[in-house]
């Protein structure tokens, strides 16, 4: 029997690594992958809390999160293809039309 705390701490570590990848990486596809990493960390917390409570609500929410993540990946990668086609780069520092 693994304590719930361990899962939650692992979830926080993974979320932190996802945030760090989000602000440190410069490739737009890798930034998008770090968002998926953060979603996975949150899913782990959901499932970890659903087990000791003896209810499956958390697992149902995880399923909905996975569905939304799939839809988000489809739209987001479409946007990435559009950016790559229009600006010929995947580096987010070169996508600065809104900068003064």
């Amino acid at each position: 029997m693994v304590p719930t705390n361990y899962y939650v701490i692992l979830s926080a570590i993974l979320f932190g690594l996802g945030v760090f990848a989000f602000i440190f990486k410069r490739n737009i596809i890798t930034i998008f992958m770090s968002i998926e990493l953060m979603l996975n960390a949150v899913n782990l917390a959901f499932v970890a809390f659903s087990q000791p409570l003896g209810k499956v609500d958390g697992q149902v929410f995880v399923l909905f999160v996975i569905v939304v993540a799939a839809a988000e990946a489809a739209v987001g990668l479409g946007i990435i293809i559009l950016i790559a086609r229009n600006r010929q780069t995947l580096n987010v520092e070169r996508v600065d039309l809104l900068k003064l």
Partner: protein, 171 residues
């Protein structure tokens, strides 16, 4: 720690180490395709953790949808766009140090807060039978049936949006 290493604890630490190593590797790898493969390692490790938690349906969905469909989509786009090694400017290298501090503070704060509240969660008596897939289907198709139908509409809109975004403009 003060507790003996039981078999589930050993499995947990192995899978947790695998997940953290995969996440660190996602940050350290320079090429996007290596980052994508690292993320697949994280997702498979998390699926193992879900099995350890007794959530076998979520584990299967994690492997099939995340490890399969979504990551194939990522790898497909990386190869389609011929993404190369990422380049860092001096400014973005400098942003790494304060960013790291910030993230350590954030993760520590979140872990401390939630772990403290997790102590008040008392473990339910384990019945020993795996009925969670039945319970999940009951819950999805009874309590959450309207959100469930709405997600199908969401996916339809996402498919349409992705198709419209990625198509070539007519000249």
């Amino acid at each position: 720690m003060g507790r003996e290493m039981t078999a589930p604890l050993v499995v947990f630490f192995v899978l947790a180490a695998l997940a953290v190593i995969g996440a660190v590797s996602l940050i350290l790898q320079k090429h996007p395709i290596h980052s994508a493969l690292s993320l697949i390692v994280v997702m498979v490790a998390l699926a193992g953790l879900y099995l350890l938690l007794g959530a076998e349906f979520v584990a299967a969905v994690q492997i099939i949808v995340y490890g399969g469909a979504i990551m194939v989509l990522f790898v497909f786009v990386i190869m389609l766009l011929n993404a190369g090694v990422e380049e860092h400017t001096n400014l973005s290298k400098m942003a790494g140090a304060p960013g790291l501090l910030l993230v350590v503070a954030l993760a520590g704060f979140v872990a401390a807060t939630i772990a403290k509240s997790a102590e008040s969660v008392h473990a339910a008596p384990q019945t020993g039978e795996l009925a969670s897939t039945l319970e999940i289907s009951n819950m999805i198709f009874k309590d959450f049936v309207y959100p469930f139908e709405l997600t199908s509409f969401l996916i339809l809109v996402a498919v349409l949006g992705a198709t419209v975004l990625a198509q070539r403009e007519k000249s």
